[in-house]
Amino acid sequence: MPHDHHDHDHGHGHGHAHHSHEGMSPSGHPYRADQDAPLTDAQALEIAVRELLVEKGIVTEAQIAEAIARMDARSPAMGAKVVARAWTDPAYKARLLADGSAAARELGADIDALKLVVVENDAATHNVIVCTLCSCYPRTLLGLPPDWYKQRAYRSRVVIEPRRVLSEFGLDLPDEVAVRVHDSTADMRYLVLPARPQGTEGWSEERLAALVDRDSMIGVAVPRLPAGDEAAAAG
């Protein structure tokens, strides 16, 4: 399998020059305890089940490694590519809003059988997504969900007090903007199409995609111009 940093103890200086914080992963988060901590029941169960499935010929270790590599390769970049295309190609945007799954597949996203519904933010409406029942999330477009997306606070509260929850994310919406909260299911996932920031006229898709982060496609943030560009746009 590809080099996996979780396989090693977390000493530093293994050439991971991009590690910015001591004890943190390349994405800046602490690792979960893994190899060096006492074996937990859940870990033992994972090993046992995996080995049984391999022995029975149901899966191979290589297929497991490939599945992990595919999952690791997924990131919000795929979703950002879809958003940037929709911002620059009105015909694509129309297809995306009509049939999100088909339009995402056009750009090479692996959507499987699930129905993807894309909801568009504009001056009058802000959309935000949740899965109140569990953790359904457009992971083929955004990667695995953040921890907060799966926790009680978000799942319980965003459907009754979305403005207050968004404000905890640092997003304060004007009263005249309506907030729509979309509750996902196992078979139907949502993606927010954020509004294209002003001051980005003539930008390339690639440059636009760099403005679109995970949170803006969940709807708990909106894309913003970097400070320098904002000044340029204003001037």
Binding site: H29, L45, R152
Partner: protein, 113 residues
């Protein structure tokens, strides 16, 4: 008369957002991969996964981590699908735990990339 299940938590009071974030450990990614591969082989579906998770109740939600709950559910679904028997699982678990005290030691050679 119906009562809402514990997992149907939309709209209920809850605390402040907690923004702490962890990267997933290898064993957690493997649980996710086992789920993906088992369902792609038609052994069970996401509905089966959720049925067991929901039956585990609110205590499990509060005390176990996400993939700790998942591996329990994946295991139960695989037993129901006939992938292996409870006796085979018990025997394998005993072997795994006898190998060593850490995940690395209990994993045979397959844990290294």
């Amino acid at each position: 008369m119906t009562e809402r299940s514990w997992h149907d938590m939309g709209g209920l009071p809850a605390g402040e957002m907690d923004f702490s974030q962890h990267d997933f450990a290898l064993w957690e990614k493997r649980v996710d991969a086992l789920m993906t591969l088992a369902t792609s082989r038609g052994m069970f579906t996401v509905d089966g996964l959720r049925r067991v998770l929901e039956d585990m109740g609110p205590e499990a939600f509060e005390t176990l981590t996400y993939y700790e709950r998942w591996i329990e559910s994946v295991t139960r679904n695989l037993v129901e699908a006939g992938a292996f028997t409870p006796a085979e699982l018990a025997e394998k678990l005993a072997q795994v735990k006898a190998r060593g005290a850490t995940y690395g030691e209990a994993s045979l050679g397959a844990s290294d990339g």
